[in-house]
Symmetry: C2
Amino acid sequence: MAKPTTPSRRPTLEMVAAEAGVTRSTVSRALNGEPDVSQATIKHVREVAARLNYVPNRAARSLASSRSMAIALVIPEPGMLALADPHLVAVMAGVSRRIEDSDYLLSLMVAGDSENAKIMRYLTSGVVDGVLVASQHSRHDALLYLHDLVPVVFSGRPTEQTDPPNYFIDLDNAAAAAAGTAHLVSLGRRRIATITGPEDMAAASDRTAGWRSALVEAGLPADLVAVGDYTALGGAAAMRALLERDPGIDGVFAANDVMAAAAVSVLLDAGRRVPQDVAVVGFDDSSAALTARVPLTTVSQPSEAMGGLMADLLLRILAGDDVPVSTVVESHLVRRASA
Amino acid sequence: MAKPTTPSRRPTLEMVAAEAGVTRSTVSRALNGEPDVSQATIKHVREVAARLNYVPNRAARSLASSRSMAIALVIPEPGMLALADPHLVAVMAGVSRRIEDSDYLLSLMVAGDSENAKIMRYLTSGVVDGVLVASQHSRHDALLYLHDLVPVVFSGRPTEQTDPPNYFIDLDNAAAAAAGTAHLVSLGRRRIATITGPEDMAAASDRTAGWRSALVEAGLPADLVAVGDYTALGGAAAMRALLERDPGIDGVFAANDVMAAAAVSVLLDAGRRVPQDVAVVGFDDSSAALTARVPLTTVSQPSEAMGGLMADLLLRILAGDDVPVSTVVESHLVRRASA
DNA sequence: TTGTAGGCGTTATCAC
DNA sequence: GTGATAACGCCTACAA
């Protein structure tokens, strides 16, 4: 057993001021790099502050300035589960990179259902200046009304229209999915199935709609739908179910790469050749597309750039700029071995 | 273009007090569930607060109470890269779950190198009551001296001894790795290689040491070492290098499951049967062990429980309890198909 | 260029 | 049980 750590009391601005022989105002100004402070005092004050290991109290600072210089990135997914999704991780990386070279600090919150209320209070309590929301389940629409209290940028078209509207960046998921499916059609495939994402996510159902429209346009049946959940296990189960339903499947469009990779694995283990017997198209162009047993042909979306864009948008809003409510990014098909 | 959102001013305690016809003190007490407040006023005040959508200002609150009711979980890995590691994600999930049903709020910070200073200031600025550090690279040892200002719990033995010591939970990585390697020996394998983790991580080098000691004990050569980085790509590259170096390899101990799974894939593609020709043992018993092409025999560590333990320890420290400086958790071998 | 003084929205310690 | 009143540590006019 150890005795509980007794953190030593941190120095305050007051103490730095006393030690430096000036007033608190001067210390504050010197430390915050405000104009109209003499080089000499700046230097002196900074030295004293460094010697004392002074770190400004953020609570006091934001109380006084009514800004916290912090931004929250909210992942509305229960239990860190979301972190298995490489697209989301790429978005997070993009956000992180953009925020890093700003003066803001990024803090991540993963919003399990139970914790939702706690997080909502946090986000509205004035300790973050802005909020980024990645991956939007429709059941979390409390987030949609956050923008009344703090600026918010969503990734993905919000499931509900609000007034005033929420800022968001998006991709035409239906068109992108249709393009991926059309590629399978152009390869001469006739029995084209889809493995969908979670049904309560707008982006996922848009992709299913895109798959359907491409098949309808080609005069092909759009009956082979298996619901997935964006995970490898879910994708594998869906693929097995599809094979059982129709062993003659010759094309699969999966709503993300992770499921596509799992599907490829199931197909190979079932003795099908990919792409000769069954062609597979994924979505995201994430790391999973490259580590799949057959490198995936996939609908590429600029995940990391999207994160950067979200962050950039928010920073501009915080700077008082006028920004467009929605920003649409482009996707394109990346051809590899699987289709 | 939309006009920048003008967040409406949040109501203050003052306003609730006025509306409810009592003083701020009473509102504060009623809302915080303090004793000595009449049931009637509690009810009334809460109603008014709810009607006004009152959310306490966290900065003011923590300034006055000198507690923030927030805990930071720091992942000292650059660029969200770490999130590809299922062990880490499991630890995070364990932390999250334990914090969720406390009164504290969890915020995650991913510490890219450049951002390190920003995060250090944040952690010492009084806006978090405690810090959890997961996955310890030796280059981030500034974190080791954080405990002077705020309670900290590490996962993994800190790379340096400090005084007073840092709290941590750990696993005997060397012994665990030795056990995994001994299993390969017991299977009659003679050319046993290892794929290591990053060289600057204590846990990783302990595993390499364990592998080596098991081989030495068995009178086998311990020369087949390939350095990996805990990623699939790194694991695959390492496996290819090993095969090139010695095509006669018949056993592989990988420092995590992700690399083990990648190694299995490389081996299969190179025409080796797993486990008949080459037996493979992983580490973690993470989700990657199950999704590998051959389900992995692996050294299991209770990742999620470890996260829970870390959180629990910190919570107890914050509650003023006496807790042990180190807590060691147990590992055991899980046998599946790969060895 | 620097000092003075008031205030940011809470909690906490007194009285009443 | 409730109301004054003074912190908490910093920022920011305004004055000098």
